[in-house]
């Protein structure tokens, strides 16, 4: 008997899959557990707010819009597994995610095979869009601009001469640190060391090296959970060099962990403090009301990413009176222009945002968020499409 049930079930599921359901799911994929959950949750909540705002309108059009939050644990293997699960759900029409470039790249290879649109609110690695996939777009700036922007500020404005570069050996951290190094050397500073470390609690060996090479500036390419501890231990051991890092440090947790040591630190970020976005004020209040938290780092980008998808969906449904296929939606998202809370959103031929903002933030006091020391609007570089596989 058991044998005869299985094909029947398969047919039933197949029928379900091909039937036009009126549910549209937008998935968010970001770390919701593990060490980077604080950043990942902001992406999810930002997108959730956008989806909840749009739900009544889709109700009127006869569709139910849903958010499908997924956890990639900041782990490439988990990210790919989640991606494979998402592509099999026909109701999932778009993905907002990921947080980590190292996770986004292998996962997006899966999305590409199914033409599932992915709008990235946080991936700054150049390779995310340099592959020129039609279904991959991003709202934030790129590391090959973020690193150099930091280096320019460090050498020209702060006068750094001997720079000690540390990175966390991930695609993101090492990538941005390398770009920083190239630009800093070009500007005439001496990079006295370039080291990677996966250490999380005890940085003494690294700090002893700093004692020996006497840097006046330390650049850390990585995420706050490492960076804050490193900074704290540096100050405990009397290393006074100025500290700077990329947007991985952009979290209230950075200041919380480093404590007083955070005073005087700099970070560059592609998502500035919320008060840098005049249009985000109303959204920030709504966010706080809904979730009881202040939107941080990538929350507003998660919000805008979801809104780009929603705008594309809406315009398609209004014209065609049906759900778009994934490929149709991908094409449409690339052409969509909206005026989001992070400014005007429009994509270039590879899926990069046409003009992205880069912020240099100074923590004058040990308090998050810091003050913006400099804002640089920078057009996406016109790089040649290349495959990284």
């Amino acid at each position: 008997m058991r044998k005869s049930i299985l094909p029947a079930l398969l047919v039933a599921f197949g029928a379900l899959a091909f039937a036009q359901s009126n549910v549209i799911k937008i998935a968010t994929v970001s770390p919701l557990s593990g060490e980077q959950a604080a950043l990942g949750e902001m992406i999810k909540l930002g997108a959730q707010l956008a989806v909840e705002e749009a739900q009544p309108e889709f109700e009127k059009l006869g569709f139910r819009l849903e958010l499908a939050p997924q956890d990639d644990q900041a782990n490439p293997d988990v990210g790919v597994a989640v991606a494979r699960r998402l592509v099999t759900d026909p109701d999932v029409l778009a993905v907002v995610g990921h947080l980590n470039t190292g996770v986004a790249i292998p996962s997006s290879e899966v999305y590409k095979d199914y033409q599932l649109p992915m709008v990235s609110p946080a991936n700054t690695g150049p390779a995310v869009t340099d592959r020129c996939y039609l279904n991959i777009d991003r709202l934030v700036g790129r590391d090959d601009v973020q690193g150099p922007a930091g280096a320019e500020f460090a050498v020209k404005t702060l006068g750094a001469k001997r720079i000690f570069v540390v990175h966390d050996k991930t695609t993101y951290g090492q990538g941005v640190a390398e770009q920083f190094k190239i630009k800093a050397e070009e500007l005439g500073a001496k990079v006295v060391a370039f080291v990677g470390t996966e250490e999380k609690s005890n940085f003494q060996a690294l700090i002893l090296q700093m004692k020996a090479s006497r840097p006046d500036f330390v650049y850390f390419g990585g995420i706050y959970n490492q960076g804050a501890v490193l900074l704290k231990q540096m100050r405990e051991r009397g290393i006074k060099a100025t500290f700077m890092g990329p947007d991985g440090l952009d979290s209230s947790k950075f200041v919380e962990i480093a404590g007083d040591a955070a005073k005087g630190a700099y970070y560059t970020t592609v998502a500035g403090p919320i008060d840098q976005y005049p249009k985000a004020k109303a959204m920030a209040e709504k966010f706080k009301q809904r979730f009881g938290k202040v939107p941080e780092s990538f929350a507003i980008y998660g919000y805008d990413s979801a809104n780009v998808v929603i705008a594309a969906l809406k315009s398609f449904i209004e014209q065609a009176k049906r759900k778009p296929t994934r490929a149709e939606l991908s094409m449409l998202i690339r052409q969509t222009q909206i005026s989001g809370v992070t400014g005007d959103v429009a994509f270039d031929y590879k899926g990069d945002r046409k003009t992205a903002d880069y912020f240099v933030v100074h923590l004058a006091e040990a308090k998050y968020p810091g003050e913006v020391a400099k804002v640089i609007s920078f057009p996406a570089p016109a790089s040649v499409c290349k495959s990284i596989r």
Partner: protein
């Protein structure tokens, strides 16, 4: 270059000492359980973590109530230790004892159970912390009393350098002698006392000559300093080590533990209940793990449900290196591993001219570990014991 290597040495050894004591504290728990049950309790890293997290919560809750930091630390140590002891006893009661009662003879079964318990505890703590605080990164508050730095006198650094030089020369001289004896196929393989005196004298001569020649370089003072919290780690771990040795060797409970370790069946004929004794062993081991967790958190600030993994693995290694089952051996193993790690982490970069950075520190430490175990498979202080009958 050479100047840098030498002048850093006292600080490197001091940091290695502190790290070594941290490993030693955790290693005590592994070695105790192994001594009694011949079980590698992989859940010990999570018992350690639960103590660290409980300590953080205590600090955060009672910071306003108890003004004296030392009293607060004492309370945190007791609560952290108690929570860890409770977790440890529960793991034994719920996971290991049922397996023992079923008479499982396969050693792999409890081992796999330990790994499972480890994962379970990680996510249990994550769940509890998530529900309670909506975040699972807990930061130890900083107190001026613990952060205070004491400068150590210059002559202490000089003594350390002299002693290290002596050890270095002695190792080389002894190695040459060892090879020479084997090449000459002499009958007397172990060195006599007079030979040892001669070798030491030769090393002292080398040390004196070397010190006189490089006097200028050797007195370069990099500033040797230690923080109060590091001192606390050293004091508490020494107290733990001596206390445990006293408990095992001098008390009735210790006699019972040793009896069960030797032969549980015969011990039970003598009126000892092995289950009770095993439970007590887990209680003590868990308490020590919890205390280690609180001090770890105080030292390195940041704790979270996954914080136990790396220190746990290192401490397990230390226990094996020192001779698993041997309490003093665990401390010796911890110190050796800590020193090796710090030496490798600091010097590899300089010795390889930047080709191998701090990230390779574990390679050096573990290569030496393998070498030591090749020549002494039972560990540094371990004794070769026959298979139990």
């Amino acid at each position: 270059m050479f100047e840098v290597l030498i002048s850093l040495l006292p600080s490197v050894l001091l940091e290695g000492l502190i790290l070594g004591f941290v490993y030693a504290m955790i290693a005590l728990g592994y070695t105790m359980v192994y001594g009694v049950l011949e079980l590698i309790n992989f859940a010990h890293s999570e018992i350690f973590m639960s103590g660290a997290v409980a300590g953080a919560e205590t600090f955060i809750l009672l910071k306003g109530t108890i003004a004296n930091p030392y009293l607060l630390l004492l309370v945190a140590i007791i609560i952290g230790g108690a929570v860890a002891a409770f977790v440890s006893v529960s793991v034994e009661r719920l996971a290991y004892r049922p397996l023992r009662k079923r008479g499982t003879t396969n050693r792999l079964v409890p081992l796999i159970t330990a790994i499972g318990a480890s994962f379970f505890l990680q996510d249990l703590v994550r769940l509890i912390e998530g529900l309670w605080n909506n975040a699972f990164y807990r930061r130890y508050p900083t107190f001026d009393a613990f952060e205070r730095t004491y400068n150590l006198p210059v002559w202490l650094g000089d003594i350390v350098i002299i002693l290290s030089l002596f050890t270095f020369f002695f190792a080389i001289v002894y190695l040459i002698y060892w090879v020479g004896v084997r090449l000459a196929r002499a009958k007397q393989k172990r060195p006599t006392r007079n030979t040892l005196y001669a070798l030491s004298g030769l090393s002292i001569l080398f040390t004196v000559l070397f010190s006189l020649k490089y006097r200028e370089v050797l007195t370069t003072d990099m500033g040797l300093s230690i923080q109060m919290k590091s001192l606390l780690v050293i004091v508490v771990s020494l107290a733990m080590l001596f206390g445990l040795n006293w408990l095992v060797n001098k008390t009735k409970l210790g006699v019972a533990i040793r009896a069960v370790a030797q032969d549980a069946q015969t011990a039970s004929l003598m009126g000892i209940n092995p289950d009770v004794i095993i439970s007590r062993t887990f209680l003590i081991g868990g308490f020590l793990g919890g205390v280690a967790g609180v001090l770890f958190g105080l030292l390195y600030t940041l704790v979270h449900p996954y914080v136990g993994f790396i220190p746990g693995i290192k401490a397990f290694t230390a226990a094996v290196l020192g001779g698993i089952g041997n309490i003093t051996g665990a401390a010796v193993g911890g110190l050796v591993l800590g020193m090796l790690e710090m030496l490798g982490g600091t010097y590899l970069t300089f010795l390889t001219n930047g080709a191998m950075g701090t990230e390779y520190k574990d390679i050096l430490a573990f290569v030496i570990l393998i070498l030591i175990l090749l020549f002494r498979p039972q560990g540094i202080l371990g004794q070769q014991v026959g298979e139990k009958v």
